[in-house]
Amino acid sequence: MRGDEKNIESRKDFFRRAALSLIGAISGYSFYKLFKRKSRTKNYVIRPPGASNNDEEFLSKCVRCAKCNIACPYKVIISADAGSIAAIGTPYLNLREGHCRLCGDFPCIKACPTGALSGEKVKKPKDVTMGTAVITNREACLALRGLRCEVCYRVCPFIDEAIIIKETLNPFTKKHTIYEPIVHKEKCVGCGKCEEVCVVDEAVIEILPLMRGDLSKHYIEEYEI
């Protein structure tokens, strides 16, 4: 009898420990997922208009209240969940799904309680600095391959200012023209309309965050991936 009781006790203990370790494992994994910030594919996030270009400064001010998310009339601002590309609860834009419409009155900036999205520098759509468009995959760009695509150029809200078309001779055929879209970083606000409408399966023109100073570091990282 005693042995049986002992057996039962030890079995109970075993199950208890197993359950505890299982809970530990689940909570550990969920914590890992919760605090994991960056995905493998992207190491940057596009924030709503008015956000500081220094993402650490933005993170220190953002209170994760999701007000900008609710305020956005086009529902393009997303509150990040655990495991997505941005820190939990912070707003970001998935520009391939929906670009920023650059509302004249900026409801997202008005909604922000902490000044993480501040309207001090952003008074009109042209002042927005969410990022800048870059043709990240030049091999796949239809325009650079010789087709007259021009979609990004045509949809740009600042057409002929932010994106222009540069005509060059096609070096392979020697008689056709390449209509290459060229982005002016100073004029581009990073609304992402070009990225959303790019006709290639994976957008070849992408919005990259503005980084003051060390721009080259950023590009090296992009190519390493």
Partner: protein, 286 residues
């Protein structure tokens, strides 16, 4: 003779009184109302806007004061509109008793209460955690927020996670809430609200100076400890109805004694359960 007659009247009126003064149901209505308010904005009603961390009710900006302090600590600068919107909530709750937020507004408290009903049907052990742990937890979180320059608690604040899940759909963050609920059911009763939640800790601190309190009439109290069983999450009524002090002795002291601990969530469970109607709620002098 007189005494017995009085008691009879009391017992006759008890059902009638219960029905009229059942704060518990009223409280649940208010809790649900706040969730309905939150949903109303998703259908385009212009009454409420935002989440519990920061919201705008009829044009008045309100911010969770703990979130405000966290942001001030993490960003190391003061944004005046934030200070005003947080200050309004801070002043309001400091006046009426801070943990009104917990018992009447917080959606996680409601979820936790509902899940806690499972405990009534199955008898499982209850590992008690020190109540004061939440204060240390709060100060640790504030300190880390300052050190890493990010409002740390907003990563896993249960009301924040719950309300964000309503907006953008349920994601992985909900695992944290499920984990808390699992622990609350199988290990420690209401452990998050009782001894972990930094929001609760913050409101406990500020409501120490509030004058709206639950009070016990010591003449009518029979030390049946029913309120104590109900209040198990906070163990509030222990100092008042403590048996060790002796009921007869207490009778000679002040007639009414109030709870001045600041940890009361004003759930009114003790009020509803008291068979002698010895518990009252109102403004008190210290």
């Amino acid at each position: 003779m007189k005494k017995t007659v009085k008691k009879e009247i009391n017992s006759d009126n008890i059902v009638y009184k219960r029905f009229l003064s059942n704060y518990r149901i009223f409280r649940h209505i208010v809790q649900v109302l706040f969730i309905v308010l939150f949903f109303s904005q998703l259908f385009g009603l212009p009454i409420y806007f935002g989440s519990l961390i920061s919201s705008n009710i009829l044009g008045l900006d309100l911010t969770d004061p703990l979130a405000m302090i966290e942001v001030i600590l993490s960003s190391k600068e003061i944004h005046v509109p934030l200070l005003i919107s947080g200050g309004i909530v801070l002043a309001f709750f400091a006046l009426i008793g801070g943990r009104f937020f917990c018992g009447w507004v917080c959606p996680f408290y409601l979820v936790s209460e509902m899940v806690d009903k499972i405990r009534e049907h199955i008898k499982i052990r209850n590992v008690s955690v020190e109540k004061s742990f939440k204060y240390w937890f709060m100060f640790t979180i504030l300190f880390i927020s300052f050190a890493i320059s990010e409002p740390l608690f907003q990563y896993f604040s249960p009301p924040g996670i719950l309300l964000r899940a309503f907006i953008d759909g349920i994601g992985i963050s909900i695992v944290f809430i499920l984990a808390i609920l699992f622990i609350e059911v199988f290990y420690s009763k209401r452990v998050w609200c009782k001894s972990l939640c930094p929001i609760g800790a913050f409101y406990s601190v500020i409501s120490k100076f509030s004058r709206l309190q639950i009070s016990v009439n010591k003449k009518t109290c029979t030390n049946c400890m029913k309120c104590h069983e109900q209040c198990i999450e906070m163990l509030m009524l222990k100092p008042i109805t403590d048996k060790s002090e002796g009921f007869e002795k207490v009778k000679d002291k002040n007639e009414v004694e109030s709870i001045f601990s600041g940890e009361c969530t004003y759930c009114f469970k003790c009020y509803d359960v008291c068979p002698e109607r010895a518990i009252s709620f109102g403004g008190t002098k210290k």
